[in-house]
């Protein structure tokens, strides 16, 4: 049931919170290096879909296959390891660690993967340069603007060369100009690194940076390209 060539695919996902179905037969796939926007009204299930795909939430039913392996067949430890090594995350509000400097924040995924501090920070600085925030290396998140913080978060999401970046409303807290720059840098960096991006957004101008979009409605995905 996995679409040919897909890196990450979900089939017939179902997830209920209490008596409310969040996902009701949702299917999805993303290819290596592809940027897919997941759109839909509030409460349609798009964030639940993202959390399931990233192995953060376990669906009640359905299958998720990543790189030929089924997520539900993995142990919690294996899924955690996968999130550290193969996945990157960007959220609406950077969610940087306030006690760490920006460069330490960016280096964090590498440090968690056992990379030595100096090497991790060297790689982190390279990514900060690409995201045009190299000057903020020594600052703490509280000292930088929202747009800058979000670029630091994008650098952190990409630093460990993940295969997939999950971005949940990454520009939701930014003005148009900053949001646009974050999207430009995120998609450009991801494409250069052949990293797939699953981009949850309700903003069409943000979704326009994707290669393809799907709409989640009432817990089901509609993909017009493949619908007919």
């Amino acid at each position: 049931m996995t679409p040919a060539g897909s890196l990450l695919a979900a089939h017939d996902l179902r997830k209920t919170y209490g008596s409310t179905p969040a996902l009701d037969g949702a299917s999805f796939s993303v290819h290596p290096g592809e940027v897919v926007a997941v759109m839909g009204p509030s409460g349609s299930g798009k964030s639940t879909l993202l959390h399931c795909l990233a192995g953060i939430v376990t669906p009640d039913a359905g299958t998720i296959t990543y790189d030929g392996r089924e997520l539900s067949a993995m142990s919690d430890a294996e899924r955690s390891a996968l999130r550290r090594t193969d996945f990157g995350f960007v959220f609406q509000f950077g969610q940087l660690v306030p006690e760490l400097t920006c460069v330490e924040n960016v280096a964090l995924p590498l440090r968690l993967n056992g990379v030595k501090r100096r090497e991790a920070e060297r790689t982190a600085r390279k990514w900060m340069e690409r995201l045009e925030v190299e000057d903020l290396a020594a600052q703490r998140p509280g000292q930088v603007s929202g747009g800058q913080g979000q670029r630091v978060a994008v650098a952190r999401a990409l630093v460990a060369s993940p295969k997939v970046v999950f971005a949940d409303e990454p520009t939701g807290a930014l003005d148009s100009l900053n949001g646009e720059r974050v999207m430009e840098l995120l998609t450009e960096s991801a494409r250069t690194a052949n990293t797939a991006v699953v981009l949850v957004t309700h903003e069409a101008r943000v979704a326009a940076y994707s290669d393809r979009d799907i709409v989640v409605r009432d817990g089901r995905c509609r993909d017009l390209e493949f619908a007919v």
Binding site: A204, A208, Y209, E225
Partner: protein, 174 residues
């Protein structure tokens, strides 16, 4: 867009030949729709007749005659009035789309499908514009942004209508 006013405005910086005017227009505003020579000369004849421009000189250079146009004081006043006059906001009623949605509901077809197909088409164009914006200069960016914001507004209407289909179906039920 008023081509006459735009050409007049371009003349404010100094006299130009018709060909120069066309080139300046295409470079700054033409993008997808360059002016035809016929449009330039027809417009200049009208402006000349209305006293908004005058012929500043005629050159031949061994070829056909080329008139050089200069803006008159009346022309400058006209440009100033045009610039100062706000454009009428167009409440662009989605009449065709609205009609299609209502007809789909009346005939028992899937109106949500129709809206989704339109949504997809809008986003396809938005992707093209976003890509063009990314490759272009500041002028391209501003022009594309203008189109993108309008398309985004349409998309919001599509989303809202999509969420209100049930209610709409009740209202228009025969």
């Amino acid at each position: 867009m008023s081509i006459g006013h735009t050409l007049l405005g371009l003349l404010e910086s100094g006299p130009r030949h018709g060909y120069d005017l066309k080139r300046a227009f295409d470079e700054k505003f033409g993008h997808d729709r360059p002016l035809h020579y016929g449009q330039v000369y027809a417009t200049m004849s009208r402006l000349l007749k209305n006293g908004l421009v005058e012929v500043d000189g005629v050159e031949t250079d061994g070829g056909p005659e080329r008139k050089r146009y200069a803006i008159t004081d009346a022309g400058i006043t006209d440009v100033a009035a045009w610039l100062a006059q706000p454009e009428k906001p167009e409440p662009y009623l989605q009449s065709t789309l609205y009609t299609k949605v209502v007809l789909a509901l009346l005939t028992g077809r899937d109106a949500a499908d129709l809206l989704d197909a339109q949504r997809s088409e809008h986003l396809r164009l938005m992707r093209i514009l976003t890509d063009r914006k990314r490759r272009g200069d500041l002028a391209d960016q501003l022009i594309c942004d203008h189109a993108l914001f309008h398309l985004e507004a349409d998309l919001r209407w599509l989303e809202l209508t999509s969420a209100r289909l049930g209610k709409l179906a009740e209202v228009i039920a025969p």
